[in-house]
């Protein structure tokens, strides 16, 4: 890289390289079509090309890449889940993230900070101990710590939370990290494009053509594309896509809101989450505090943000950090989250042959981007889901084999 930069020192022309080709007209047919150009869809395209040599792939994005929940999350990567299935799966993702900047040749600003899930009640402490034991059993570095250790990592914290909800302890998770989420989408797009995948922005799927229980094509606002394999990777829009193929799922859509403060000098080195106060907070590389909260309480298909949310979140942030009372919130937004009854994703094959689901990513999707891309690519290439995602299959509901992951959701929902 430094050598290629050197030539620009001698030239007056400094063209910015494009990350991916500006594709506008889809071909008539592809080996696979991926609906949704977010991190998950682009990662699936990348691993289809890299691991299985399937490069005749179109990624269809109705807006711009990474403009959905890939660009709306609070960028936290962790694997301190509650069920062994969940911990194994998210741990595989954390391990992939650790080498991803190198692999995609893009700086993801992947920063391992350590992650504290604060407990304010005895029952929360019990869940923390449970999660710590499951994590240790699977080989993930998580353990329960007391208030002294929390204060050592974050001396600015008011451990009594303004006397409202004194902190008794926390689940500490060493690999907890943050990353630059847009770069994850761009990196996968760049490398997938380099291997021949075509990425279409402003291209909306309006129908999916199913004949005798098998996918044969998709209808888009840029014409009909015939294909035998379709992956739905559309956070917040899954029910609209599954309706096109006549599949029922338990997914309902709730907005999830987040906001950032004005930038400050670095002071918060770690990631803090409080289930009881419904807060998660970290400081970005730009110095902004990135803050999120619980889901909006009822189903809405909208990304409108609300004053109620900033009011509620700010009051809890000030309980934890009274000195932030004068800091301004500069941006707030919302994403539409696919919520499942067991707070685990829905991945794999469906009753419609050739139609694959990567859905139900609720509030836990960004951290799973690399591993979901890799496992969905394998599912599509082999028409068989790998062992790692078997417990996330759609049919688990009618088999009553749910993967109870609600206790590991970042905040109480």
């Amino acid at each position: 890289m430094p050598l290629s930069l050197l030539k620009y020192a001698l030239s007056r022309e400094h063209p910015a390289p494009r990350f991916f080709r500006d594709c506008t007209e889809p071909k008539k047919t592809y080996d696979a079509v991926i609906i949704g150009g977010g991190g998950h869809g682009l990662a699936a395209a990348y691993y289809l090309a890299k691991d299985f040599g399937i490069t005749n792939v179109a990624v269809l994005e109705k807006g711009y890449i990474g403009g959905g929940n890939t660009g709306r999350n609070t960028t936290i990567v962790r694997s301190n889940y509650l069920t062994p299935e969940g911990v194994n799966f998210y741990d595989a993702s954390v391990q992939m993230y650790e080498g991803l900047s190198q692999e995609l040749d893009i700086n993801l600003f992947y920063s391992t900070r350590g992650h504290f899930t604060l407990a304010h009640t005895e029952s929360a402490m019990r869940t923390m101990r449970w999660r710590a034991e499951v994590n240790k059993h699977v080989g993930v570095e998580s353990y329960v710590v007391g208030p002294e250790e929390i204060l050592k990592a974050c001396p600015q914290l008011d451990i009594s939370c303004s006397g409202q909800a004194p902190i008794l302890g926390a689940l500490y998770h060493a690999p907890g990290s943050v990353a630059r989420h847009d770069a994850v989408a761009w990196g996968y797009a760049k490398e997938a494009d380099r291997m021949g995948v075509e990425i279409f922005q402003n291209t909306e799927v309006t129908g999916i053509d199913v004949k005798s229980g098998k996918v044969v094509g998709v209808q888009t606002n840029k014409g009909y594309i015939s294909t035998g394999r379709v992956l739905s990777a559309v956070a917040g829009f899954t029910p609209r896509i599954t309706e096109m193929v006549g599949i029922e799922t338990p997914i309902v859509i709730h907005p999830l809101q987040a906001c950032v403060s004005e930038p400050m000098k670095p002071w918060l080195n770690t990631i803090l989450v409080s289930g009881s106060l419904h807060v998660y907070v970290s400081q970005s590389s730009r110095g902004e505090l990135v803050m999120g909260s619980s889901l909006d309480p009822y189903e809405v298909h909208s990304t409108r943000s609300s004053l109620d949310f900033v009011e509620g979140l700010s009051s809890h942030i000030v309980d934890m950090f009274p000195f932030l009372g004068n800091v301004k919130v500069v941006r707030q937004w919302a994403g539409m989250a696919d919520i499942t009854p067991d707070f685990a994703p829905i991945m794999g094959k469906t009753p419609v042959e050739g139609f694959y689901l990567d859905a139900g990513w609720g509030t836990w999707g960004f951290k799973a981007t690399p591993i979901s891309g890799k496992t969905m690519a394998e599912t599509m290439a082999r028409d068989m889901a790998p062992e790692l995602i078997k417990s996330f299959r759609l049919s688990r509901f009618e088999e009553y084999e749910l993967t109870g992951e609600k206790g590991a959701a970042s905040v109480g929902h």
Partner: protein, 87 residues
Amino acid sequence: MKLLQCPVNGTRPISEFTYGGEYREAPDPQTCSDKVWADYVHNRHGAPGLKKEWWYHGPSGTWFIAERNTLTDSVSRTYLFGQEKDA
């Protein structure tokens, strides 16, 4: 949506209400198949549209039905269960 019309107490701020999910007809568990029952227990109509929903007015303990468009978040009418025709 910032306000909601309780059929008993009139228009009240949304913070007084709790969402109870979409109104659905339960199949008879004695006669329906396991598949139909599992569908009732787990699956939901997730696509946006005009839906009949359960809502609860906390201060007065009133459960009622609201017809709401989940895309625009606008409520067209609310009524007590079973009193749809009078609404």
